[in-house]
């Protein structure tokens, strides 16, 4: 029994310690800074204030936030739309071929993201591959503007975040027993019913995990939208980066970051709650 306790305690301790030291403490540093006065030389000085949080409520900052939110929502929905069927079909491929095909999903992502984004630029630019094809095939008279538009931004975001949707979905769908589905079909359920009543509820944890892993990081992403969208709008990621680097306003940047995390935590709590309800309603 001692050995049992040992395993359990070690597992808990290692995790708690790591999270405490490398997540909680840095987070606390950020929270503390967000309540201090800005200082042009030392980044911040030990004078408490809540002015940074008050300054956050401003139409300009709200626009920055809603704009990022739109991109993140759009990206999450698009990756889900592309990734769910993909993960499903992948999980139905022969058992032997599955690991190879799964690896093939991730291999492209071992190339530097900057280099991959440049490859997308080569494809989408005015004198690029896609436009040349369109013109040669007679589908367009002159080059179509793709680069530096929202289309390019979404292509780039979906491209770079797709595996974060596919992998957790696959991990969940893969364990679905196909005999279960056959049984449902035998009992007279239509394909749609099988999907809505069996597959979807059982895969919800994967949908949740995937959406979280796409949505949250995409809020902070700005490199891809800047390179492909032409940086004409400001996103939360740039906004916070500029506070830290360009204007040296660390307390304001910290406040923005803390606020961002708080908003997202509450959004996630609602999301998880709704998902749980939904899960219960389809599986009484």
């Amino acid at each position: 029994m001692n050995e049992n306790k040992g395993f359990k305690n070690t597992a808990i301790t290692v995790n708690m310690l790591w999270i405490f030291l490398f997540v909680l403490v840095p987070n606390l540093i950020v929270v503390v800074i967000s309540f201090l006065e800005r200082d042009p030389v030392g980044f911040f000085r030990w004078e408490p204030t809540i002015s940074h949080y008050i300054n956050l409520f401003d139409p300009v900052n709200a626009r920055v936030f809603t704009h990022s939110l739109t991109y993140s929502f759009g990206t999450t929905l698009l990756t889900l739309a592309v990734g769910y069927p993909f993960a499903w079909f992948l999980s139905r491929v022969g058992r032997r071929r599955r690991p190879l095909m799964l690896m093939m999903v991730i291999v492209p992502f071992w190339t530097s993201s900057l280099i991959r984004t440049y490859a997308l630029v080569i494809l989408m630019k005015a004198n690029g591959v896609i436009n040349s094809l369109l013109v040669t095939l007679g589908l367009a008279k002159g080059p179509v503007s793709i680069l530096y538009t929202d289309v390019a931004v979404y292509v780039g975001l979906v491209y770079s975040l797709l595996p974060f949707m596919i992998l957790p979905l696959y991990a969940v769908l893969e364990k679905l027993d196909s005999r279960l589905l056959e049984a449902a079909c035998d009992l007279g359920a239509t394909h749609l019913q099988v999907f809505a009543r069996v597959v979807l509820p059982l895969s919800l944890p994967g949908v949740m995990a995937g959406s979280i892993m796409v949505f949250l990081p995409s809020m902070g992403l700005f490199y891809i939208p800047d390179l492909l969208g032409g940086a004409k709008s400001m996103l939360v990621g740039n906004f916070i980066k500029n506070q830290f680097l360009t204007s040296g306003n660390w307390p304001f940047g910290s406040a923005a970051s803390v606020f961002l995390i708080l908003v997202m935590v509450s959004m996630m709590a609602v999301y998880l709650l709704v998902m749980k309800r939904f899960n219960r309603s389809v599986m009484p």
Binding site: N15, L21, V23, F89, I115, M213, M219, M264
Partner: protein, 256 residues
């Protein structure tokens, strides 16, 4: 009909994922120095790459960090996911909140706050600090992936094993681990990928002795990314592809 839809969907997504890389490989043979317009075929970037020791060194550094960090993150993260789904302990909810906060923190905030922590702890920046930071930002991705898979399991299996006298470690190792292996693998893959490509956090927490590839590539932007980088990326891409396929066929042989 259904089969046909599946095959075309898979093909389309793989095409989407691979077309930019094929473009990259084609352009790595481009004469033009700035890789925008096709100017003729050449091998010269590959030859120059072989002489670029700094670039190759930083690649090996990146690979080392990515391998070590992703393995550590996978071990700790898998245990963590198991712990939160099987044991009740104080601070479980807070634990989750903190895990998610890592995914939400903008890179710049995380980089700066971790560097402040290391400075406070009196640690010199270098391989160790870089490794600690990488494990930290990889952890949540492992935990979320594995947790999603563990949650669906019947707790009766575990109870039955416990009744039959299995210890906690045995339960984890003999029952849970084999069942969640695909998710563990997925978590490791995501960690390795994230670690291999991180720039902003790494910039702050690494030291002068330990340069990594993404940092070198991003800071080339000022003078234009060198075509040698395209050559390096193409070689690496082909090597990984070859390694993955070989590994697949080797395991297949063994199964026979």
């Amino acid at each position: 009909m259904k089969r046909w839809v599946g095959i075309s969907w898979l093909t389309a997504v793989y095409a989407f994922l691979y077309i930019p890389l094929v473009t990259l490989m084609v352009y790595s043979f481009n004469q033009a120095r700035f890789t925008t317009v096709w100017k003729g075929f050449t091998f010269k970037w590959y030859i120059r790459l072989m002489g670029n020791q700094q670039l190759l060194d930083s690649f090996f550094n990146s690979l080392t960090v990515a391998l070590v960090a992703s393995v550590i993150a996978t071990v700790i993260g898998t245990l963590g996911a198991f712990v939160v789904s099987h044991y009740r302990f104080a601070g479980r909810k807070i634990f989750f909140g903190l895990i998610y906060s890592v995914m939400m923190s903008p890179d710049i905030v995380m980089g700066i706050s971790l560097l402040m922590l290391f400075v406070l702890m009196g640690m010199e920046t270098g391989f160790m600090t870089l490794l600690l930071a990488h494990v930290t930002f990889c952890l949540p991705f492992v935990m979320v992936t594995v947790h999603a898979r563990i949650r669906g399991f019947d707790s009766m299996v575990v109870d039955a094993a416990r009744d039959l006298g299995a210890g906690e470690f045995q339960i984890f190792y003999r029952i849970i681990l084999p069942m969640i292996l695909p998710a563990v693998l997925a978590g490791w893959l995501l960690s390795f990928t994230l670690s291999l490509d991180d720039v902003i956090i790494s910039f702050f927490v690494t030291g002068p002795e330990f340069e990594i590839l993404p940092l070198k590539i991003y800071s080339m932007v000022r003078l234009g990314v060198k075509p040698e980088v395209n050559a390096l990326c193409s070689i690496l891409f082909l090597l990984t592809l070859a390694a993955v396929t070989t590994a697949h066929f080797l395991t297949k042989e063994r199964e026979k």
